[in-house]
Amino acid sequence: MSVKIYIPGDSGAVALGADRLAVRMAEALKARDLDAEIVRNGSRGLYWLEPMIEVETEKGRVAYGPVKASDVDSLIEAGLLDGGDHPLSLGAPQELPFLKRQTRLTFARCGITDPLSLEDYRDHGGLTGLTNAIAMAPEAIVAQVTESGLRGRGGAGFPTGIKWKTVLGAEGEQKYIVCNADEGDSGTFADRMIMEGDPFVLIEGMVIAGIAVGATKGYVYLRSEYPHAIRVMNRAVEIAREAGILGNSVLGSDHAFDMDIRVGAGAYVCGEETALLESLEGRRGVVRAKPPLPAHKGFLGRPTVINNVISLASVPVIMDKGADFYRDFGMGRSRGTIPVQIAGNVKHGGLFEAAFGMTLGELVDDIAGGTASGRPVKAVQVGGPLGAYFPRELFDTPFDYEAFAAKDGLIGHAGIVVFDDTADMLKQARFAFEFCAVESCGKCTPCRIGSTRGVEVADKIRAGIEPESQITLMTDLCNTMKFGSLCALGGFTPYPVMSALTHFPEDFRPAPMSQAAE
């Protein structure tokens, strides 16, 4: 049997040269007439080690990284196929501290299996959750998801089971499952990784959701900035259809469910669920007023479950191992695990899935190893462009929906972006307004106009024009946006702005002399 060499096809690994490496590896193996098969797996999520390759040996998997195409010859000469020693050797991947400290439930297979091999998927526990669900009454599936404590991983944190229950109880000939894969928040890439690295888990989660609420059709609304994920998901849907996971008889049962991948067109606001539905229907991505809730009147006015990728991808493990198993992880009302995405100026960036409750400080100092630049950490933005900037003084905040809210922040989609002491927080506050102005759908005034006024106010502060009254104005503007906006884009832009202003006031009072000297 030929040896398997795993070279990630994840776009993060590809951005660091994995495709060139795979081509070079194939050539080198051929030239030496060596019997080995290259598998393009997902990423394990240790991006500072990407491209991280793994070889399946008798002793288990052996990892090397970061590997460049120019390392291939020396690796093969060092006995790569038998897991031979090399300066790039990392040993057994699961023993790497970054992985060993994680609890991988949703990401259990990501980086381990061939993303498009159903055989791999089944061998690693895939489809057990769906098989269990098929044997259950819809109400029992919904109850199990509710009892697991799973909350929406897209950012809002709404209990998934409650949402499903509403759709189950809604009247309608046709219901839908819509997966929100419009992962536009900077610092987040968990959706991308799972779609590229374990697409069947998302498909399985959507089918279970369909059976639970009586929906027979699903859509994944996937952003156009993710061409690799689009390719993998499309192929995975075809494979699932051929295998009878999708279609008129799901795994031979009486349930029907089919799904399609729909590609966005570069509008951040379409990550908001009602704007997403508008977009999916073929209109401008303008936010809808609620009520009616999408659960009652969603896609095409019909009852619709709309869930984030990670929420849906967490359902199979809940249906496989039980509500208690999942709920036993976590703290307070934040149950289960959360895939934290560590990004920006960090030494060890990547995906870290763990039970809720780790502190921000543990993640930044301990797990991420501080900044890549080696300079002190100044601020950490948690939860994307609409998330608050946290100073070191708040590093004891545990990862928990309520704990973050209590500190005027949010977990959001659990991306954390680290900035070193060169960061200028007035500039970051200005950017938050600028981004809101670029991406505003234009429906409500606080967001549409407020964002532009915010940029102007920030510029006046920078120019030293009546800074004190401008700061008062900025605070007032944030208050208006927070309470007057229709959705989270305008409503949450105040989080980064006000946190920057509250925790880093010195950056908002630049010395006029140094300004003049520039």
Partner: protein, 159 residues
């Protein structure tokens, strides 16, 4: 005369796309995506055809086209550089690299050079935040951009 025949050509190719995708639930975005793939942009001449095919007003179709950042009104340059401007890339010096690249190309955001060799566009997150700063060049992703890579990139796209 020539432009009229070009418009006729656009109309008939648009009609084929509309005909193929019309049965979808919510067909407009898939149609526009295919049109942009076919022509490299969304030509004005295709709008009435789409409107007619989907029983929409031309204004409604225009409204959708103009809403989304992806749709182009005119063809892009031979190379398209999308440089991420979001926070994770900022934290790794993305702003300075962007300034450098714009300077080297002599372009501002969304512009295409007079020689039509390159178009430069901002993008807000490519999901490569753990290997920032990131860019996408002609669909290929690049991580951990630095000044040297930016210089090489500017040279390569202008060659």
């Amino acid at each position: 005369m020539e432009s009229r025949s070009a418009d006729t050509d656009i109309a008939s190719r648009t009609e084929a796309i509309v005909g193929r995708l019309k049965p979808l639930e919510g067909p407009l975005l898939p149609i526009l995506r295919d049109i942009q793939r076919e022509f490299g942009y969304v030509p004005q001449a295709s709008l009435p055809v789409i409107a007619n095919g989907l029983n929409l007003s031309r204004a409604e179709v225009h409204g959708v086209v103009s809403f989304y950042h992806d749709y182009r009104e005119a063809p892009a340059g031979r190379h398209v550089i999308k440089l991420c401007r979001a926070e994770a890339c900022q934290s790794m010096g993305g702003d300075e690299l962007a300034e450098r690249l714009l300077g080297l190309l002599g372009l501002d955001w969304h512009e295409t050079g007079a020689d039509r060799k390159v178009t430069i566009e901002p993008v807000y997150c490519l999901g490569l935040c753990a290997c920032a700063p990131a860019a996408m060049v002609d669909g290929e992703v690049i991580g951990r951009l630095d000044a040297e890579m930016v210089d090489q990139l500017a040279k390569a796209v202008q060659a």
